[in-house]
C-alpha cells in the first residue's frame, strides 16, 4: 500500500494504492496522523487504485474521520470500486462518510 499526498486548490488529496487491510493499516494511519496533527482542514481520499479493503481498513478510515471531525476537518472519499462501495453500504458506512462520484465533485462540494 502506498499513499501519495498532493496539495490542490487549498485541500489535500491522498491517493491510495493497493490494499487497505490489517497489514497496511498501521502505515496508512501514520500518514494521516501527520495530516491530522497539522489540522489539515479538507482531505480527499482517492481510492481508485485500491483493490481490497477489510474490516481493519474500514476501521482505519473511520478512525481518520473521527480524528478529523475532532477539530472540524472534513474528509471525502472518491473513486471506490463497486465492490468496495458495497462494503460501505452493507455496514452503513456510506451514511457516515461523504462519498463523491468524482474528484471534481468532491473539490467543488467542499
Amino acid at each position: 500500500m502506498a499513499v501519495k499526498t498532493e496539495s490542490k486548490d487549498g485541500l489535500m488529496i491522498c491517493r491510495m494504492e493497493g490494499e487497505i487491510d490489517i497489514s497496511s493499516s498501521p502505515d496508512i494511519k501514520k500518514v494521516f496522523d501527520k495530516l491530522i496533527a497539522q489540522k489539515t482542514p479538507k482531505i480527499i481520499v482517492d481510492l481508485v487504485s485500491v483493490s481490497y479493503v477489510d474490516s481493519s481498513g474500514l476501521a482505519t478510515l473511520v478512525g481518520i474521520l473521527k480524528n478529523m471531525r475532532s477539530y472540524g476537518g472534513k474528509m471525502k472519499l472518491v473513486g471506490m470500486s463497486s465492490k468496495i462501495k458495497s462494503l460501505f453500504e452493507i455496514t452503513k458506512l456510506d451514511k457516515l462518510f461523504d462519498i463523491a462520484a468524482s474528484e471534481e465533485e468532491a473539490i467543488t462540494g467542499f
Binding site: I22, S23, I90
Partner: protein, 131 residues
C-alpha cells in the same frame, strides 16, 4: 485442504492465498473470490486475535473444501470460545463510529451460511461458487 498456522497475523494472507489458489481453476467470479478472501481473512484474524488472544503458542486450524457448487471453510482456534450472538450490530448509533466490530458482521452478510460449534471456537462458513 488443511492449513495449520501459529497465532500471528502475518499468516492471515497465506490462508486466503491458499484458499483462492485452490479455487483458481474453477471459474469463480472475481466478486465471489473477493468475498471468500475477505471472510476467510476476517475469520482467521478473529481466531488469532480474539480466540487465541494472540498467543503464538496456540494454533489456528483451517479446512477448506468444495462440495457440489459450494465452498466450505472451517476455522478453529484453541481459545475458550465465545457466544457469536453477543457481537453487536455495528450499524447502530453506538457502533457506527467504532473502530472495530465489523469483521463478523461482514462474514454473516457475505457468506451464504455461517455456523459455530457449541463451544464457540470453530466457525464454519459456506458460499455458493456459481453463478
Amino acid at each position: 485442504m488443511f492449513i495449520d498456522i501459529p497465532s500471528d497475523i502475518i499468516h492471515i494472507r497465506k490462508v486466503s492465498s491458499d484458499i483462492l489458489s485452490s479455487l483458481s481453476s474453477r471459474g469463480v467470479a472475481e466478486d465471489k473470490l473477493f468475498d471468500i478472501r475477505l471472510c476467510a481473512e476476517e475469520a482467521v484474524r478473529n481466531a488469532i486475535v480474539h480466540g487465541n488472544q494472540g498467543n503464538k503458542r496456540l494454533r489456528v486450524k483451517v479446512a477448506c473444501w468444495v462440495d457440489g457448487d459450494k465452498v466450505f471453510i472451517e476455522i478453529e482456534d484453541e481459545g475458550e470460545g465465545y457466544d457469536p450472538k453477543s457481537v453487536p450490530d455495528p450499524r447502530g448509533d453506538n457502533g457506527i463510529m467504532k473502530e472495530s466490530g465489523r469483521g463478523m458482521f461482514l462474514i454473516r452478510k457475505l457468506m451464504d451460511k455461517v455456523d459455530f460449534n457449541e463451544k464457540g471456537n470453530k466457525i464454519r462458513m459456506e458460499k455458493k461458487l456459481w453463478p
